[in-house]
Subunit: 435 residues, 2 copies
Amino acid sequence: MQTCELRIDAAWVVPIEPAGALTGHAVLVDAGRIVAVLPRAEANDRFESRSHLEFPHHVLLPGLINAHTHAAMSLFRGIADDLRLDVWLEQHIWPREGRFVDETFVYDGARLAAAEMLRGGVTCCNDMYFFPEASARAFLDLGLRAMLGVAILDLPTAYAADAGGYLARGLAVRDALKHEPTLSFSLAPHAPYTVGNATWEKVVVYARQLDLPVQTHLAETAHEVSASRDVHGRSPLSRLHELGATGPQFIAIHAVHVDDDDMALLAAHGCHVVHCPVSNMKLGCGIAPAAALVQRGVNVALGSDGAASNNRLDVFSEMRIAALLAKASTGDPSAWPAQQALNAATLSGARALGLDAETGSLVPGKQADMITVDLSGSAAEPCYDPVSHLVYAVGREAVTDVWVAGRRIVDSRVLQTADEAAIGAAARLWQERLK
Amino acid sequence: MQTCELRIDAAWVVPIEPAGALTGHAVLVDAGRIVAVLPRAEANDRFESRSHLEFPHHVLLPGLINAHTHAAMSLFRGIADDLRLDVWLEQHIWPREGRFVDETFVYDGARLAAAEMLRGGVTCCNDMYFFPEASARAFLDLGLRAMLGVAILDLPTAYAADAGGYLARGLAVRDALKHEPTLSFSLAPHAPYTVGNATWEKVVVYARQLDLPVQTHLAETAHEVSASRDVHGRSPLSRLHELGATGPQFIAIHAVHVDDDDMALLAAHGCHVVHCPVSNMKLGCGIAPAAALVQRGVNVALGSDGAASNNRLDVFSEMRIAALLAKASTGDPSAWPAQQALNAATLSGARALGLDAETGSLVPGKQADMITVDLSGSAAEPCYDPVSHLVYAVGREAVTDVWVAGRRIVDSRVLQTADEAAIGAAARLWQERLK
């Protein structure tokens, strides 16, 4: 008999690898990692566990991955909606960012975002914002796995004066925190249109030397693409490719306005796309060709973007709307079936962040990043297929328990690592200042 | 001092008429109807209430109206997804309907649907299915307000042999139940392509004689419209207009493929549209021109369609996705702002069903059809505008209490009129037979 810390029996186990749902199975965890996924009878014979949990109406699956967010912007949730993009940014978001964003703002905002994400079944996020040291502290305090983007701009902000300043500050944070097992880092030049060629070339060199992914907002609006063609004579992606940025460590966020040549480039170089359907819809940016990208073999993950443009950090919602939008935009109801949406929210997210050896599926050896989802109640009956229900019928409200690296962060819908009411109270204090 | 049964103080009251949110207000209810919406100090001075409830973190608003559903089809929830429309209907839905749909199926399915809708803040639905006597019994048992459609087809089913048979059976149900204060009736010819001219003419005569609304699935697919042009030389709507069906008692469900002429007809004759964005997306039917319809002055309500093609009966989700889809399809982020989405889910639904004198807003004299939505917790902080949060940030999971005609049907998230677990158990028995 092998001894392990934790055994979980759930009505269904959805491991992602392989596809589909297993019944009558148990998952065994030790030292924060998955030891086995196997039939209960076999678990009885082979394992002794110090703790044994049963989830009789639940699915056990990998935690979801929010592959693009600006966590601290949760303090701007709903501060300005239903506005033209330029009005929203220039009159509402940027003036407040200039005046209020500091380490305290980012810590309080990232803590609020981490609480929302963990309660909603997200076990890992990819964050991009100023003061990553403050976001990192919030994610460590609450126990959320995270990739932090070293934000880089050619414009001065309260955070840094120029590209060199952004890089120096961000890389110092990385040096200080790179030993943390639940944190990883990437370079995050904001966008092709806010970062010039010289800085992009520097980013490419640093990324190779430090073995870091590069993530950027790409082709979010039609205007961005036409301006790039006017100024640079080529699409934003084609320009970045010329500058050496493409490759399996390149993460293109949004990719709404990519044409056939762009898609061929993304596929040929093993780049990743983070599809943010709700943010793209809410800002009227357009509809990313998510079905065509998957068809060409591009790895497509899902992101919520910031709560200022969503207004949720809810990967269940992104899954469902990605599946619906793929069908609506192609006229093909078989586009993005439920399993594809679930893969995008889990293993594809891990692949995009270069973390697929560690998370994204319930496979022995990986970190025990897992959630349980309750499929009882009138909204989830009957249940012919739990994969369908995870995407189409239930949402984050059905998440009951969350583990990151085997640590139970949410227990019976209650966050264990912080006082959710105190986090809300801090957000209300910011509301008084920001409104 | 005036005495009344119930006083509710909520952090915010969103009455729909007028737009926006009121703080520091109370709502007074007596004999099932709203007596007053007024500042608390004034309520203290003028009213004595036998029961006084306080909702310190909640919005009080009118119950939502699901203006199109096939309630009993909830037993097919998730039985077949991600399939071409013809495969889905011909291989999965129709064979099972032919074999299993009877009074017991419809009662059990409608009860499940009513439980899901009530728990999710829906206080009124517009149902269209066979055996309306069984749906009616389920809605009466659970306390959900409903309009029942007298289904009419020119094809034989287990329910009736021809149009005359459908009409006779349906109108007998109406005669038996028309005294029920929470039930109303309409004529529901299935669609232009399944009901011939002679039957449509008969429907128009009955509707006038009995003063009943007429509802039909209209222009759901591009194929329906092109086939109508081939066979009848005109669009489906134009054909129904020629047959005398249009007018303020005509409810066009879906209206995905309506052109400028169709929209002008709908507007000129005061017809109503029920927009079902999720069902249209999931079946790959297309995107209804909801923004253009509203711009032309057409009253646009929201519907979930049946759970077989959604897979939720969730009007919060329809609100949010309608607002997002209007922006995505027009490229205009100011299309369908939050208040428009909320109006569509409440007062516009009541107008479409001819019930706006009775429900759809918190106005003195109307039925007390109301819900409370909890805006505390990390997913809803901070709150700059509760109307924005109702549409973009929270969902049906935040509904805590539901009243229909002043009767508290859901109390602190628990259904009071039936045992939700027993309803789920009945659904699981059907699952064994249907799968």
